[in-house]
Symmetry: C2
Subunit: 729 residues, 2 copies
C-alpha cells in the first residue's frame, strides 16, 4: 500500500465537526479516498471506502448526541453523590460505593480525587476546539505570566513589609475591633485582596482616619498593583492568545494545502505540459466524499472548478475543492407564496395587495415599535389592576396578528429561513407566551390559584418581547449581530469555565461541606443566625446573611464560585470560610482568583476584543475568496451580507427580477429557477475569517513547508522580522 494511504489511515484521530469551515476532514477523506482509488485503480467507485463510512458514522448527529449524553451523566454524577442536591437511592450508587467503600473499610480515608478530574472528558473530545485552544492558551501563557506574577507578588510583599512597619505599631483597630495590620501574612492577604478591589476602601480606613497622608500609600498600591499589573496580565494573556490563534490558523491552512496537494498528486494525469485532474474521477471523488450532494450542487461546483468546460481542471482549481465543499450552499427555490398558488384570485385581489403593501411598509414596523413601548409601560405598571391584565391579552393578540400578517405577505419557508434569527425569536417568544398564558388561565379558573412557575415564565417572555425594538434600529443591530455572531464561541467558553468551576467545586465540597448551613429565613432554628456554626458568631459573614453561600452541594458551590469570579466581597466570603475551617483555606480562594480571574476572565476579554477587532477591520473592507467571486460571477449566488434579517424576503424578490433578464448560457440556464445562497458572512466565525485572510496571502503554487514542519510550527516565529505599521498598533 502506498505511503499516502498509510498516512491517511494513521491520522483520522481528530476529525473536526462538519459545521466547521476549516475542512480538515474533507481533506483527510479526499486523501484517504484518493489513495484507495489509486490502489484499486480498476475497482468501480461505487463502494465508498471504509474510512469514509466510519467518518460519517462518527459525525452523525446520533453519535454526537450520545457523546454529549454520557458527558452530561459523567458530570452530573456530582449532583447525586454525597454532598448532593438530589440524593440517589443506595443501590444506584452501589458500584461506585463498592470501590470507595472497600478502600474505606481497609481504613484508607481517600478523598475521591478522580471526581475533580471528570471534566477532563469535556476537553478531550473533538468538538471543543475552542475549549482546547483556551486550555492551550493557558498552558502556553503560563511561563510568560509566571514572571509577571512573581514580580507582582514581590511588589505585594514589599508593600506588605512597608505596611507592617508603617501601621503595625500604631495600635490601630479595624471596624470589627481587631488589630490592624500587625501580622505580615494577614497583611499580604489583605493587600492581595485589594488587588481584586474587594476590600477597598475598608482596608484603608483605619490608617486614613489616623493620618491623611497614609492614604497615599494605598493609592500608590492601587495604581501599581490593581491598575498597572492587572493590565499587564491582560496584555500578556491577550498577546499569547493572539499569537497562538494565528499559529493554529496558519497550521490548519498549511495542513489543508498539504493534504489537498497530496490528493492531487494521486489523481493527476499529464495533459500537454501540465498535470490535471479529469472530470470523471473528480465527479466520483465528490460523490464519495459527499454522497448526499444534489446533482445541481455538483454541477455548480464543477462549473466553478472547470471554468472553461474543458473536461479537466488544473491544480489551482482542484485545490479549491475542500473549500467549495465546506461552503454551505443553500439552494433556494424562489417560489411564489403558497396562497398565491392555491387561491391566486384572492391573494392577488386589491384588498390583499393593499395588506401586503401595508405590511411591507416601513410604517408597519414603526407602529409595532410604538405598541411594544406602550406594552413596556403597561408592564411597569401594577398588574393587579384587571384592566392592565386584560391589556396584556390585547398586546398578545396584536403580536400574533403581526406574525400572521407577515406570514401572509412573505413566503413562509423564507420567513423561517435557517438564519432568520429574529423571526424565529419573535415567533417562539409569542407562541410560548400564548401557551403559558392559556395554561395559567386554565389553572386559575379551575383551581383559583396562580402557578408561580408559569407566571414567572410568562413575565420573562413578556419582557423579552421588548428586545424586538432593537432590531428596528440600525446601529444597535450591528452590535447585536456581532454579539450573536460570537455567541456560539462564547458558549464554548462556558465549557471552559464549567470545567474549571467543576474542579474547584469538587475540591470546595471536600473541604467546606457542611461547615455552613442554610436555614429557611422564616424558620427560626437555633443556629440560623450563625449559619449553624458557632465559629461564625459575630462574623460579618453571618451578619450579612450569607449562609446560603456554601459548598454543601454542586449547585450552591457553583453559585459561590460565580460570586468569587465577580470578585466583590471576596474577603467576606474567604474570611467566612476561613473561620469555619482554617486560615489556610484562604489559599483555595487565592488559587481560584489566580486561575479564574487572572487567567480565564482575561482570555475571555481577549477573545471578545479579538472578535470585535476582526469585525471592525472587516467593516470597511471585504476579504472575498476566489470561490465566492466565482459563484457571484456565475450569477447564481444570492449575496446575503447586504440583506438585513427580517427583510431578506424582499431582497430575494428583487434579485429574482434582476436574474430574469439574463442572456443565454447553457449551463446557467440549466441552473435557472434555483439560486445558491452562500452562508451569510455575518455568521462566520473569527477563525474562518482569519483562515481566509491567511489563505488569500499564500500563493496558489506555494505548497508550504513539509508536514513535520507544519506540525511543529511555533507561535514565536509568527511575528514578521520587520513588523509593519499596520500590525504593530
Amino acid at each position: 500500500m502506498p505511503g499516502a494511504g498509510q498516512g491517511a489511515a494513521a491520522r483520522p484521530q481528530r476529525p473536526e465537526s462538519p459545521e466547521e469551515p476549516l475542512a480538515r476532514e474533507d481533506l483527510l477523506l479526499a486523501a484517504a479516498y484518493v489513495s484507495d482509488a489509486q490502489y484499486n485503480r480498476n475497482v468501480p467507485f461505487e463502494t465508498s471506502p471504509q474510512a469514509i463510512r466510519l467518518y460519517y458514522f462518527y459525525n452523525h448527529w446520533t453519535m454526537q448526541a450520545i457523546t454529549y449524553f454520557f458527558i452530561c451523566i459523567d458530570l452530573s454524577l456530582a449532583l447525586f453523590e454525597e454532598p448532593a442536591l438530589f440524593p440517589l437511592p443506595f443501590l444506584l450508587t452501589l458500584i461506585d460505593l463498592i470501590i470507595y467503600g472497600s478502600l474505606e473499610t481497609v481504613n484508607i480515608h481517600s478523598v475521591r480525587w478522580s471526581r475533580a478530574l471528570r471534566p477532563v472528558f469535556l476537553i478531550n473530545f473533538p468538538e471543543s476546539r475552542q475549549i482546547r485552544r483556551a486550555f492551550r492558551s493557558i498552558r502556553n501563557t503560563l511561563p510568560d505570566i509566571l514572571y509577571v506574577f512573581l514580580l507582582f507578588m514581590f511588589s505585594v510583599l514589599i508593600f506588605s513589609l512597608m505596611a507592617l512597619k508603617l501601621f503595625g505599631d500604631r495600635g490601630l483597630k479595624t471596624v470589627e475591633g481587631s488589630p490592624y495590620f500587625t501580622n505580615i501574612l494577614e497583611i499580604a492577604f489583605e493587600l492581595y485582596v485589594l488587588v481584586t478591589t474587594a476590600n477597598s476602601p475598608d482596608v484603608m480606613m483605619p490608617a486614613y482616619d489616623f493620618n491623611w497622608w497614609y492614604s497615599l500609600y494605598f493609592i500608590t498600591y492601587i495604581i501599581i498593583n490593581t491598575y498597572i499589573f492587572m493590565s499587564v496580565f491582560l496584555a500578556v494573556v491577550y498577546n499569547n492568545y493572539r499569537k497562538h490563534l494565528k499559529n493554529e490558523i496558519r497550521k490548519l491552512a498549511y495542513l489543508k494545502r498539504h493534504k489537498m496537494t497530496e490528493a492531487f498528486n494521486i489523481l493527476k494525469v499529464k495533459m500537454d505540459t501540465e498535470f490535471v485532474v479529469k472530470e470523471a474521477p473528480w465527479r466520483q471523488l465528490v460523490k464519495v466524499v459527499a454522497p448526499d450532494i444534489s446533482s445541481s450542487h455538483l454541477e455548480l461546483l464543477l462549473r466553478i472548478c472547470d471554468e472553461g468546460q474543458k473536461g479537466y481542471m488544473d491544480k489551482t482549481n482542484f485545490l479549491r475543492l475542500a473549500d467549495l465543499l465546506n461552503i454551505q450552499v443553500v439552494t433556494i427555490n424562489v417560489k411564489t407564496h403558497p396562497l398565491e398558488t392555491w387561491l391566486p384570485r384572492v391573494y392577488q385581489s386589491a384588498a390583499s395587495l393593499l395588506i401586503q403593501k401595508m405590511v411591507r411598509h416601513r410604517i408597519f414596523v414603526w407602529v409595532y415599535d410604538v405598541i411594544i413601548l406602550i406594552n413596556a409601560i403597561f408592564i411597569a405598571l401594577d398588574e393587579k389592576n384587571p384592566l392592565i391584565s386584560y391589556a396584556e391579552w390585547l398586546f398578545l393578540s396584536l403580536y400574533i396578528v403581526e406574525i400572521l400578517l407577515k406570514l401572509y405577505t412573505y413566503e413562509p419557508r423564507a420567513y423561517f429561513g435557517r438564519k432568520q434569527f429574529w423571526n424565529w425569536f419573535d415567533t417562539l417568544i409569542i407562541m410560548a407566551a400564548l401557551v403559558a398564558m392559556v395554561a395559567n388561565a386554565t389553572i386559575q379558573s379551575a383551581r383559583k390559584y396562580n402557578s408561580q412557575q408559569i407566571l414567572d415564565i410568562v413575565l420573562i417572555l413578556r419582557i423579552l418581547r421588548l428586545l424586538r425594538v432593537i432590531v428596528s434600529i440600525q446601529r444597535f443591530r450591528v452590535i447585536v449581530t456581532t454579539l450573536i455572531n460570537i455567541g456560539p464561541t462564547m458558549l464554548t467558553f462556558g465549557g471552559l469555565v464549567l470545567v474549571v468551576y467543576y474542579v474547584f467545586a469538587i475540591i470546595g465540597m471536600e473541604v467546606f461541606h457542611g461547615k455552613v448551613l442554610f436555614f429557611d429565613p422564616n424558620f427560626t432554628a437555633p443556629g440560623a443566625l450563625v449559619c449553624g456554626n458557632p465559629a461564625l458568631e459575630d462574623s460579618i459573614f453571618a451578619q450579612s446573611r450569607y449562609c446560603r453561600n456554601n459548598f454543601n452541594d454542586l449547585a450552591s458551590s457553583f453559585i459561590v464560585l460565580v460570586e468569587l469570579t465577580v470578585v466583590n466581597h471576596f474577603t467576606l466570603l474567604a474570611n467566612g470560610f476561613a473561620l469555619v475551617t482554617h486560615q489556610v483555606a484562604k489559599l483555595y480562594f487565592i488559587g481560584f482568583h489566580i486561575v479564574v480571574v487572572i487567567l480565564i476572565v482575561n482570555i475571555f476579554i481577549a477573545f471578545i476584543l479579538e472578535a470585535f477587532f476582526v469585525a471592525y477591520s472587516l467593516e470597511k473592507s471585504e476579504v472575498e475568496t476566489a470561490i465566492e467571486k466565482k459563484i457571484q460571477e456565475l450569477g447564481v449566488g444570492v449575496q446575503e451580507e447586504e440583506v438585513q434579517d427580517g427583510k431578506l424576503i424582499d431582497n430575494v424578490d428583487t434579485k429574482d427580477c434582476g436574474f430574469s433578464g439574463d442572456d443565454g448560457d447553457n449551463k446557467r440556464k440549466s441552473l435557472k429557477g434555483l439560486y445558491f445562497r452562500i452562508a451569510s458572512k455575518k455568521y462566520r466565525t473569527v477563525d474562518a475569517l482569519l483562515q481566509r485572510m491567511f489563505e488569500s496571502e499564500i500563493a496558489p503554487e506555494d505548497e508550504g513547508p513539509s508536514l513535520d514542519e507544519i506540525l511543529n510550527f511555533s507561535p514565536s516565529d509568527i511575528y514578521p522580522k520587520n513588523p509593519n505599521f499596520e500590525n504593530s498598533a
Copy 2:
C-alpha cells in the same frame, strides 16, 4: 514675502517640546528660516530670524516652569477656597470675593461653575500631547460608545423590569430590612451598580435565599452586562484609541515630510541633472536651527548626510535632517578613571586591580543580593530589639561600601550617566536613608524622641532598597524596563485623571460639602458615630466608619473619587451621600462611573496594552532607521540596547578596545576618542517607535498628500482596503 514665509509665520502656534522625537518644531524652524533666507538671499546668516528666537524663548525651561507654576496656582486655589484645607485670610481672597460677593448681594446665588472649568488650562497647553490625545480619544469615541451604552442601558432596563415583576410582590427584605426590589428606579440603580460588581452578591441574596432558581437571573445579568458589555466597551475604546493614534502618527509623519520638502525646495540648487543642497547653506541652516550644537556633532551630521563627501547632498539625505537633529546624541568621552589619572601607580597596583576585578565579577552582585534578602528578613523582624536596630546600621554601611567600590571601579561620569536609572535609584535611596537615619539619631539623642515623619521615611527607604533584587534577574528586568519606559506617558495619564477628578471634586464639594463630618476616633463627640448627620443613623455608611470619606475639602474629595474609581463599595458610598442630600445625588456617582471607569480606565488599559504589544512585536525584530545604521557604519555609535543598565560601563570599555584597532580614515580619525551614543532604544516612546515604522514604509520620494489633505486625515481611512492576516488579529 513669499508664501512659505507666511505659512511659517502663521503656524508657530503649536510647537512641541524639544524632548519629543516627532520633530515638528525643527521642521517649522527649517521652513521658517529657509524661507527667510530666501527672502533676504543677500543678508548674512548670522542674525537668526525672530521666529526662531521666539521659539527658543518659549521653549526655555524658565518659561515652562512659569507656565507650570501658574497652572499649579490656578488648580491649588481650591485648597484655599471655601471648603478649604487651609483657609486663606480674608484679604487675599478679596478680589475673588468681590466678584462673587457682588453677585451674592444682588441676590444671585450663583454656584461658581468657573471653578470646575479651571483644569481646562492643563489640557490646552502644548506639552500635554498625551492628555489632549486622550481627550480627543474620548471625544471621538463618544459616538461609537454611545450606541453601545444605549444598548447596555436598554438591557439594564429590561432586566429591571423583569426584576420588578419577579421579585417586587414577594415581600422580600434586604439585610437592612428595607423592601427588596419594589421600585423600578431603585432596581435600575442597583442593577447598574451590579455592573460595577460593587453590590455583588448582596443584591442577589434575598432572592437566592427565597428560591435557588432566581440566582440564574443574576448570573445571566452578570454575564451579559458585567462581562460582555464591559468587554465591548473596552473593545470600542481600544479600537478608537488605536485608530486615532495611528491617524495622528500618520499625520505627523506626513507633515514632517511636507515641511522638509518645502525647505528643500527653497534651498536647492541645480547640479547636473538633480537638485541638491550645498554644504555651506546646510551648515548655516543647522547652526541657526541648533545654535548650541558642538562642532564635532555637526561634523558627524554632515558626514551622515553627505556620505561621499561631495560637498552637497541630495533630497533624500536632506530630508533626514529633522530626524538627525532629534536624535539625542550623547557624546561620550571614553576617559580613563580620574583616580588613574591622579594616582596611576596606586590605581594600577595589584591590590587595586584585584578589587576592580572583584567588583566586576558576577559573584559581587550575588553577594549583595543575598545581603538584601537578609536585610528583608531583618526588616520583617521586630525592630524594638536593639540588636536588629544596630544591624540596620550595618546594612546601610554595606550598601555605602558597595556604591563606593563601584565608583572606584567604574568611571563616575559613566556610572551616573543620563539613563543609568538603577544607579541613580540606588545612590539616592542610600543617601536619603543615610541622611534620614542620621537626622533621626540626632533628634533622638537630643530630645529622647523619635520623629514620626522621619521614621516613616526611613522605613520606606529601607524597604525600597529591596527593589534592587529585581535588577539582577533578567526576566524581571524586561518587564520593569517596559514599565519604566511607559512611565512618563503614564504620568500624563495622571494629568488626565487629575483634570477629571478636579471637575468632579469641585462639583462634589458644591453638593456635599459639610454634610458628612469626621471626628477624631478617640474624641467622643456626640455626633461622631453618625458622622455628625442624623440622617446617617443606622446607615451602613456610618457603621462602616466611613465618616472620613467626605467632600469637605479638595484632598478628601480626591480620595473619595479614588475609592469610587476602584469601584468597590460604590453603593455604600453612593447610598451614604444620597441619604445626606437627595436620592438624585446618585446620578453624580453614576456619571462619575461612566466617565472615569468606562471611559478613562479603559483608555488607560488600552494604552498599556498597546505599549506592551509594541514592545512585544519589537522584541523579535529590529526597526532600524537609515540614520542609526549610518551612525553604526561610521563606527562612532555605541549601541546601547544590548547593554544592561548597571553594566554599561563594562561594555563601553569593551567597545573602546574594539575601536582602537580601526584602520585609517581621515574623518573617522578626527572623531576618535569621542563616541556618540544614540538615545537608548529601551527608553523610546510608543509614539516614536510607531512613527519610525510608518516612515520606513513610505518611499523616500513620496511627498505625501497636500497639506490640506494631511490636516484633514480621518482615522476611518486608516484601515487598508484589504486587511491582511498579520494586522487583523
